[in-house]
C-alpha cells in the first residue's frame, strides 16, 4: 500500500527535477545575458543607457522574429536553413517592386506570400518526398539565394517617401534631453513582440503546438497517437518561411536598402539564438521566450566584441564557441536526465 502510493510521488518528484535540469541552459542564458550587460556597463558604461537598449531592440527585431521562426522546426528535431536566403529574395523583390511604384501594403503581402511559397516547397519536399529537413531547406536556401542573385546583384535603395517608413519610424516613450537616454521603440519591435507572443500562444495553447512538441519527442509515437503530424509539419515550415519574410520587411524598413547578399549566415544566428535559449537541438524541449532571449544574447555579442577591441574576424569564432558550449551543456543535461 505504502509503496504503491510512494512510487508515483517519487516519479513526480523525479519528473520535476528533470524538468529543472532541462531548464539549466535557459537559466544559463539568462545569467550570461545579465553578466554581459553588467560587464559592459562596468567597463564601458553605456550598456544600461536607455538609448543602447532601444537600439539593441530596434536593430535586432528581425533576429527575434527569425529566432521565433527557427524555434518551430528545431522543436520537431528539424531545421530551416532557408530563412536567411528568404530574407534576401523577399528584400530584393520588395525593394524592386517599391521602386516600380507598387503600394507598400501590396508589396508586403507579396513578400509574405513569396516566403510562404518557399515554406510550402520545403514542407512538400520534406513530407511528400521524405527529404531530410536540412537537405530540403538547404536546397530551398540555394534556390532563393540564386533567384535573388538573378533578379539583381546591385545594392538596391528604397525610394523616398515609401510607406515602409511606418515600420521604422521611432516612437519615443521616454524623451530625455540627451539622445542617448531616450527610450524609443518602433513598429518593427512591436511586430517582433507580437510574433513572440503569437509563437508562445501557438506552442503552448493550441493543439498544433502540442503536436509540434510531440513530434520532437518521438515522431512515430505522435503518428501512432493519431496526431496530425503531416499538417503540423506543413504549418511549421510555412510559418517559419513566412516569418522570415516578415523579418525581411522589418529589416529593410529599418535599413532602407538591400542586396542579394543580405542575410548570409543569418540562419546560423537564428540557430545560435534558439540553442542559446535552451531549445534542445534534437527537438522536443524548449520555448520561444528562451529563443528571444538567445537572440538578445547573440545581438549583444557584437557591441561587446567591438568595445573590447576584439578584431571583427574573431566574432564568428566567439559565436561558434558559444553555440558549442550550449550544445555541450544540453548534451550533458540530457545525458544526466537519461541516467536518472
Amino acid at each position: 500500500m505504502t509503496t504503491a502510493t510512494a512510487t508515483p510521488a517519487k516519479k513526480a518528484a523525479k519528473k520535476t527535477r528533470r524538468m529543472d535540469a532541462q531548464m539549466i541552459p535557459t537559466i544559463a542564458a539568462v545569467v550570461i545575458f545579465i553578466l554581459m550587460i553588467i560587464m559592459g556597463q562596468a567597463l564601458f558604461g553605456t550598456y544600461l543607457r536607455l538609448g543602447f537598449i532601444s537600439s539593441l531592440f530596434i536593430d535586432h527585431a528581425y533576429l527575434i522574429i527569425l529566432a521565433v521562426a527557427m524555434t518551430l522546426p528545431i522543436l520537431t528535431g528539424g531545421i530551416d536553413l532557408s530563412v536567411g536566403a528568404i530574407v534576401a529574395i523577399t528584400a530584393v523583390i520588395g525593394i524592386k517592386l517599391t521602386i516600380a511604384g507598387v503600394p507598400a501594403f501590396l508589396v508586403m503581402i507579396i513578400m509574405l506570400l513569396i516566403g510562404a511559397a518557399f515554406g510550402l516547397l520545403a514542407a512538400t519536399l520534406i513530407e511528400e518526398f521524405n527529404m531530410q529537413p536540412f537537405i530540403a531547406t538547404l536546397s530551398t536556401m540555394f534556390l532563393a539565394r540564386g533567384i535573388a542573385s538573378i533578379i539583381s546583384t546591385d545594392s538596391l535603395t528604397f525610394p523616398d517617401n515609401n510607406n515602409f517608413d511606418v515600420i521604422s519610424n521611432e516612437i519615443k516613450i521616454i524623451d530625455n534631453p540627451k539622445i542617448s537616454n531616450d527610450l524609443s521603440i518602433n513598429l518593427g519591435v512591436i511586430i517582433a513582440i507580437i510574433v513572440l507572443i503569437g509563437g508562445y500562444v501557438l506552442l503552448h495553447h493550441t493543439r498544433t503546438g502540442r503536436t509540434i512538441y510531440a513530434i520532437g519527442g518521438s515522431r512515430s509515437s505522435a503518428e501512432l497517437m493519431g496526431l496530425p503530424v503531416r499538417r503540423a509539419q506543413f504549418t511549421i515550415y510555412i510559418t517559419s518561411a513566412t516569418l522570415a519574410a516578415l523579418a525581411s520587411i522589418v529589416y529593410i524598413a529599418n535599413i532602407g536598402s538591400a542586396k542579394n547578399t543580405v542575410g548570409v549566415g543569418w540562419e546560423l544566428d537564428a540557430v545560435a539564438s534558439v540553442v542559446i535559449g535552451g531549445t534542445i537541438i534534437t527537438g522536443g524541449f524548449g520555448y520561444v521566450l528562451g529563443s528571444a532571449l538567445g537572440a538578445l544574447v547573440r545581438s549583444i555579442i557584437d557591441p561587446l566584441t567591438t568595445d573590447f577591441g576584439v578584431p571583427a574576424e574573431w566574432t564568428t569564432i566567439v559565436v561558434g564557441l558559444m553555440i558549442l558550449v550550449f550544445v555541450v551543456l544540453q548534451r550533458v543535461v540530457t545525458a544526466v536526465g537519461d541516467k536518472k
Binding site: G146, I150, T153, V275
Partner: protein, 356 residues
C-alpha cells in the same frame, strides 16, 4: 552454398553500382555534348609546350574537379556513417590560409603544405571527437565548425586575402595545382590517386564494411565488436584532411587565399556529388567511384553554366534544382515504383531457379 549466395549478392551489388555509374557517365557525356554544341571548340585539345601539358576546356574542367573529388570522397565516408560534414568549405579556407600565410612568412614550401594538411586534419579531429565522444549531432557540430572555421581563416591571415604569388621557392605547390603529369593536370592525377588509396583502404580491408555498418546501425555494430566511436572519429579526421588537400588545390592555383570565397558553398557541391553518386543521405552503403564521377559531373555542370553563358549568379539556383530533382527521384514514393519492378523480376528469377 553460402559462398554462392555471397557471390550472388556481390553480383547484384556490382550490377547496381555499374548501373548507377552508367547513368552518371551518360549524364557526363550529355553535358559534354551540350557544351560542344554551343562551343564547337569545346573538345579541342592542344599541347601547350610552356606548361608541358594538354590545354583546352576539358582540361581546365578536370583541373577544377580535383578539389571536388577530394571533398566528395571525405563527404562520402561521413555520409555513409549517417553524418554530414558541413565544414569542408571552411576547412579548405583554413588550410589555404595557413599555407599562404606560412609561405609569406618565409617557411619552406613542404613545411607549409604539411602545416596546412595537419591543420585540416586537426579541425577534422575536433569535429570527430565532438561527434564521436561527446555524442553531439554531426550536423550542428560541423555547422559550428563551418562558422568558426571561416573566422579561423580570417584570424590566420588577420582578415586579409593573403597573396603568396610573389614568394620564391613555392614551385612544388604551384606544380601541384597547375602542373602536368604526362600531359594530364597534376592535381587531377593526385586526386585520383588519393581516391584510389581511400578506395583500397575501404574495400581491401574491412574498413568500408565497418563504416557502412556504423551508418546502418551503430548500436548493432557496437554489439558485433566494431568500435563505432573510433570509426566516426576516423571518418571526420579523413574528411578534414581531404578538405585541406582541396584547399591547397584551390588556393595554389592562384597562390592566393580569399578568406570569404575560398571553399564557399563547396559543402553543397560535395553533398551533391555524393548524392549523385548514389550514396543515401541516410547512411549505409556508399560508392566512392560513384561520388568521384559525381564530383567530375559537378565540375562539368559549372563548366556548362559558363559555356552556355548563363549568369554566374544563377549557379546556386541551378544546383538547387538539380539537388531537388535528384532527391525527389530518390524518394521512397518514386522509388517504390522501381522497387516493385525489381521485386517482380527477382520473383521471376526465383521461380526459374526453382523450376530448374
Amino acid at each position: 552454398m553460402a559462398d554462392k549466395k555471397q557471390e550472388d549478392k556481390n553480383n547484384v551489388f556490382k550490377k547496381l553500382l555499374s548501373s548507377n555509374l552508367t547513368v552518371e557517365v551518360i549524364a557526363l557525356v550529355l553535358l559534354i555534348l551540350l557544351c560542344t554544341l554551343f562551343d564547337h571548340a569545346f573538345l579541342a585539345l592542344s599541347w601547350n609546350s610552356n606548361t608541358g601539358g594538354l590545354a583546352g576546356p576539358l582540361i581546365t574542367m578536370l583541373q577544377e574537379s580535383a578539389r571536388y573529388l577530394m571533398i566528395a570522397t571525405g563527404m562520402t565516408l561521413v555520409i555513409s556513417t549517417a553524418g554530414i560534414d558541413l565544414s569542408v568549405g571552411s576547412v579548405m579556407a583554413v588550410a589555404g590560409a595557413a599555407a599562404m600565410q606560412a609561405l609569406n612568412g618565409g617557411m619552406n614550401v613542404w613545411v607549409a603544405i604539411l602545416l596546412a594538411l595537419v591543420i585540416g586534419m586537426v579541425v577534422g579531429c575536433v569535429n570527430g571527437s565532438l561527434i564521436a565522444f561527446l555524442g553531439l549531432q554531426p550536423f550542428i557540430t560541423t555547422l559550428i565548425m563551418m562558422l568558426a572555421g571561416r573566422g579561423l581563416a580570417k584570424v590566420i591571415t588577420s582578415g586579409e586575402n593573403t597573396d603568396a604569388s610573389a614568394v620564391a621557392g613555392s614551385e612544388p605547390l604551384r606544380w601541384m595545382a597547375n602542373g602536368f603529369i604526362l600531359g594530364i593536370p597534376a592535381n587531377f592525377v593526385i586526386a585520383v590517386i588519393i581516391v584510389a588509396l581511400v578506395g583500397l583502404l575501404c574495400r581491401k580491408t574491412a574498413m568500408g564494411m565497418f563504416i557502412e555498418s556504423v551508418g546502418i546501425n551503430p548500436e548493432a555494430s557496437r554489439m558485433t565488436g566494431i568500435k563505432p566511436k573510433k570509426i566516426l572519429f576516423l571518418v571526420y579526421a579523413i574528411s578534414g584532411l581531404l578538405a585541406a588537400v582541396a584547399g591547397l588545390f584551390a588556393t595554389a592555383s592562384v597562390m592566393r587565399v580569399d578568406v570569404v570565397k575560398t571553399g564557399q558553398d563547396l559543402e553543397m557541391y560535395a553533398i551533391l556529388a555524393v548524392v549523385i553518386g548514389g550514396t543515401s543521405l541516410l547512411g549505409g552503403k556508399f560508392s566512392l567511384s560513384g561520388s568521384a564521377v559525381g564530383a567530375v559531373i559537378i565540375a562539368m555542370i559549372r563548366k556548362t553554366i559558363i559555356t552556355l553563358g548563363i549568369d554566374s549568379a544563377a549557379t546556386p539556383a541551378f544546383f538547387a534544382v538539380v539537388v531537388i530533382v535528384i532527391c525527389v527521384m530518390q524518394a521512397p514514393k518514386v522509388r517504390n515504383l522501381s522497387a516493385e519492378l525489381k521485386r517482380k523480376r527477382a520473383l521471376k528469377a526465383q521461380a526459374k531457379a526453382v523450376a530448374a
